[in-house]
């Protein structure tokens, strides 16, 4: 099978004052893959997601989606053309029901009418396993359920690429197992996944390829095994003594 490129960043750079949060990062994402991204805290993972999804404008460099430049586009536009994302800290619409939360992204991310958006919302919520909680308020739900809701909101836009920012943080091993299964199903639907994850076991089992960021630079890229043995990566995580 020939790999078809769907998303790429070219020397994406983001600065906050004197701090270079993202330093000329190149990432290529092929259609249908699950790409993992790891790196110590503050290494620029979320910043890269924010640059791709249009929340930040990069200081230099480009973001291309299906060959089209999307570098200075607004987040809502990027969502509408097929790149959805979740947040590390879940951001549900607290005063709206679970279904209404998902309906918003079906209405605007996918551009459906009210009736179709409702159906789409119900379908997606069933898929992520929140069918029984359709009329609950997010504040009354557990952390794993709120993460599922975050995922459902992204899925309701019918994305081609989904950026997942630590979907499994704070979950128990059993819950992680469930989410892993869910993400595999998402991928089987043909959705390309780009995920930040600290839980190494999850990244190792799910991703074919992993990139590693440290101090805003990409320091390694390869299969999980290659990355795990990479000296730069070990140094970044554990310090010089362990190399």
């Amino acid at each position: 099978m020939i790999a078809i490129e769907i998303l790429r960043t070219e020397r994406a750079t983001k600065k906050f004052g004197d701090l270079t949060a993202l330093d000329a990062v190149d990432v290529t994402l092929d259609k249908g893959v699950i790409l993992g991204m790891i790196g110590p805290n503050g290494s620029g993972k979320t910043t890269l997601f924010n640059v791709i999804s249009g929340i930040y404008t990069p200081a230099s460099g480009e973001v291309r989606y299906k060959g089209q430049k999307i570098t200075k586009k607004k987040p809502h536009f990027i969502c509408r053309i097929g790149i959805a994302r979740t947040f590390q800290v879940v951001q549900p619409f607290s005063q709206m029901t679970v279904l209404e939360n998902v309906v918003v992204s079906a209405l605007y991310g996918k551009g459906l009418g009210l009736k179709d958006a409702r159906e789409k919302g119900e379908e997606v919520l069933e898929f992520v396993g929140l069918k029984e909680k359709i009329h609950s308020l997010p504040d009354n739900m557990t952390t794993p359920d709120r993460r599922r809701l975050e995922l459902a909101r992204a899925l309701a836009t019918e994305p081609e690429v989904i950026l997942l920012d630590e979907t499994m943080a704070g979950l128990t091993p059993a819950e992680i197992e469930e989410v892993l299964g869910l993400l595999r199903d998402v991928n089987k639907r043909g959705i390309t996944i780009f995920m930040v994850e600290h839980i190494m076991r999850a990244v190792m089992t799910l991703c074919e390829r992993i990139i590693v960021l440290n101090y805003g630079r990409k320091i390694a890229e390869g299969t999980p095994e290659e990355v795990a043995e990479n000296k730069e990566v070990i140094k970044a995580y554990l310090g010089d003594r362990y190399v």
């Binding site: 809502h76 005063q95 918003v104 605007y108």
Partner: protein, 292 residues
Amino acid sequence: MVVLLAIVPIDISGYWLRLITFIFMWIGLAGSINLITGYTGYLDFGHVAFFGIGAYVTGIVMLKLGIPFFPAMFIGAVISGIMAVVVGIPTMRLKGAYFAIAMLVFAEGMKQVALVLEGITGGGNGLSLPIYTNYTFFYYCMFGAVLLTVGTTYWFERSKFGFALMAIREGELAAEVSGVNTFYCKLVAFGISAFVAGIIGGIYAYWMTFLYPGDAFNVLTTVHMIVMAFFGGAGTLLGPIIGASLLAIIEELLWAEFRYTYLIIVGFIVVIVVLYIPRGIVGLVREKVLAK
């Protein structure tokens, strides 16, 4: 209820007609601010500006151009809406208190404009409109304004656009990455909200027949709108109706009894509302019903 209110003015005295017309005006104004503050989540501390602009433009257009009342009122409301979009382009990038302060400054600025442009607005001498004393006419005008406000709010509640606004209120960034063009939606909502306030301002101008910058752009009017909307329940259809009616009646009764101290008592009521029923009367009832 609507039918009842529509036939009421046939045989009631001037006092009651005037009181109910005022209550209608407050329902309309509270409903107008509810669109931007209750549904969209932007606390507008300068909303009176759009009431004032509607009032002054209506008056000026009638006097200087000799245009009849209804088209004049419409022009006033449209200009009000346009002003909201214009001022919203910079201010709606601000959040929370910063937006509130920017709008407060805008309203005060408009008051100064009305004072300075003496040639057009009459400045500190005020502006006298053509006198029209058919108070039943104004009753129906304000009643129409209430229907307009309620209708718009109902549309906000039920439409795709309303979903976008509520999502913006609950989390602007999350709304944006869900595909909502938040900036555009906020501006449209602000424009609509100001249009409604402008209509009411126009009616008020013709009804009162006299405009003075300090009255038309009185910051207390904004405070009243906010308190009424929150008292009844911001972000709900019935909230501003209940809040405005109750508070207007309470104030009227207190004013009759305690002419000089009634505002202190009103202040106490506001404090109690903020402390004990932050979601307003409608929110309180809804919680009780849900708890059952």
